[in-house]
């Protein structure tokens, strides 16, 4: 994991450094942060293709992309939240509730449209509720969304009564398990939302304002940025993305249970952190989160391919999260001139 920045002497400026090192130094912070992640991703792919014959097969790549898609969709919303120095612990529970609601409605009415709107709407409303708790009541995001997590789980359990709802129309299931030109539909969704996410964060004024809110909420407020409504917006987006993820989940698993999605929250947050978004806000990108999601998925896929016991999975995930943030710290420190 040696990167040019790490080996460059502190204080060397872009102008008098030469060659590759100079180029690296000349890159703006965010670009460099993503570049070094892409490098890591590339090395990971290289290592895996050397270690396992099964890795570089079309089916496996498609497989990895499909698994990463779900993680990314969930994590992309969380990225915006973390960009504002917030946190959303309720996304997993949100997925569960939205999925169960959509499933119930689809079963009851047979209408896919209704179910899709219900899933997205449920996710969105939960997100807005989070946003209101955090802005109007000024609860710390950690606590507000943790409390919300329990409330959602309870309502979902009560509503589902331990049952499973399953068997959805093929037209709906296509969102999760369908293909087009040999590529799974979720991968298209991932690309679409990557595009939308990057566009929103980098190329809209709301995106700019969200970065500013994360960097210094008081300065943003005193610059006339409606901070509270931007915060509600990011939690709403995070909720809506959870709603979307719930639909894909539902379509892919062809069933809904009360504990669906429970195990998704921490991986989503981990993907965001591996992707270089700072918990202190104002630094990071949706594209970084994509790379983070890919790294996380690849590592787990590689461990499966190499038949490493799944017991080690949490250990490896943990080490990667810490390592990614540590390397970020190093590169950012080296940059202070």
């Amino acid at each position: 994991m040696k990167t040019p920045t790490l080996s460059s002497p502190a204080g060397a400026s872009a102008q008098n450094a030469s060659g590759l090192q100079g180029l690296w130094q000349a890159l703006p912070d965010p670009v460099r942060s993503v570049a070094f992640r892409l490098l890591a991703l590339g090395l990971l792919c290289l290592a895996l293709s050397l270690a396992s014959d099964a890795f570089l097969t079309t089916t496996n790549i498609v497989n990895v992309l499909r698994q990463a898609a779900l993680l990314f969709l969930l994590a992309s919303g969380v990225t915006l939240v973390i960009l504002t120095a917030g946190l959303d612990l309720s996304v997993g529970a949100n997925v569960a509730m939205s999925a169960c609601l959509a499933a119930t409605l689809m079963k009851a009415t047979g209408s896919i449209t209704l179910a899709v709107f219900a899933g997205l709407g449920c996710g969105l409303l939960i997100g807005i509720a989070n946003g209101l708790l955090i802005t109007l009541l000024r609860l710390p995001p950690f606590i507000a969304t943790y409390g919300m997590l329990w409330i959602l789980h309870g309502v979902t359990y009560w509503f589902m009564k331990g049952e499973t709802i399953h068997g959805f129309p093929p037209a709906f299931r296509a969102i999760g398990s369908g293909h087009w030109l040999g590529i799974p539909i979720p991968v298209y969704l991932m690309v679409a939302f990557l595009f939308i996410g990057v566009l929103f964060a980098q190329r809209t004024r709301w995106g700019q304002e969200i970065y500013a809110v994360g960097a210094n909420p008081e300065a943003a407020r005193l610059s006339g940025v409606p901070v509270k409504s931007r915060l509600v917006l990011v939690y709403a987006v995070s909720g809506a993305m959870a709603g979307l993820a719930s639909l894909i989940f539902l379509a892919r698993l062809n069933s809904a249970e009360g504990d669906i999605g429970e195990a998704l929250t921490l991986p989503a947050i981990a993907a965001v952190l591996i992707g270089g978004t700072s918990l202190f806000g104002g630094v990071g990108s949706v594209f970084g989160t994509l790379v983070g999601a890919l790294i996380l998925t690849l590592v787990l896929n590689g461990m499966n391919l190499l038949a490493i016991s799944s017991n080690w999975q949490p250990v490896v995930t943990g080490v990667i999260v810490v390592l990614a943030v540590f390397l970020d710290n190093l590169t950012r420190k080296g940059d202070r001139k």
Binding site: L139, P140, F142, A144, Y146, W150, I151, G154, Y157, V325
Partner: protein
Amino acid sequence: MHEMTVRAEPVAGVGKLIARLKHAGSASGALMMLIVLCAVFAFSTENFLDGANLVNVAVQSTILLLLALPMTLIIMTEGLDLSMGAVLTLANVVLATVAVNTGGVSLALLAALGVGLAFGLVNGTLVSRLGIPPFVATLGTLGAAQGLALVVTDGQSVVGIPASVQMFYSGAFLGVPAPIWIAGIAYAAFHGVLYHTRFGANVFALGGNREALTLAGVRTRLYLVAVYVIGGLMAGLAALLLTARISSGHPTAALGMEFDAIAAVAVGGTSFEKGKGWLLGTLIGVLAVGVLRNGLNLMGVTSAVQVSAIGLLVILALMIDAFRGKQS
């Protein structure tokens, strides 16, 4: 209520305690929630106020309290320890394994404390030396501890715990159950350390104004590491109670308990910022969670409602705090 005063007695007289509660109660959502919950359950169930039940609640709350006490200190340094539940779990399987093999408690406890110490050192070093945000650092070690617990046991429970270990949960001394003694002594020790030692003042300063502490010539990093080490050691100690309680080691036994501890600390009025902490509040927060679960069980309320009720408790307690904070 007899048993509950026991835990606070050694520290402050009852009168002083009441005065302190009155003083703080005006700003504590947790205390209000606790009182309301107790009143509701006293009226709606016949057994809630039974001595046996109150002992029961207190005993059940001890493990969470052992985690919530160091968590209070960690949060006061503007930190967080997400690994505590996983470290407790790992310590649980290690303690169980050693106890089963040696048949005694001392070596097993040492091993559990060793696990806690090691993770505390790693957490503290990552946070203080390498500048990794506590959330990230401890999320990483959470994974490590969780995975190691699985690796050590290969997913199996460890059983055959000797009676000498079980004693620590089921035994009693002078009529008071052993876990209450342990938790009471731990609370007293934390109270003493936080409010009556230099270490305690430094904990306030680590979160309130770290620069000031550095300028006062205090080695801040050392203290920061120490706070996380205390967290790890307490997880090791809690493993003794947990192992004694479930008479086994289980690779998923306490996963997620760190969130319960963080919630209890937050409910108790400790803030994530500026070193604003309140140890008694943490005790109240832990008891509020315990009373809520116990009361709902006594009422026979369905589990789904219990799940939501805990979420509501957390949000309501902080809402009351926020509302009162706004008023004053």
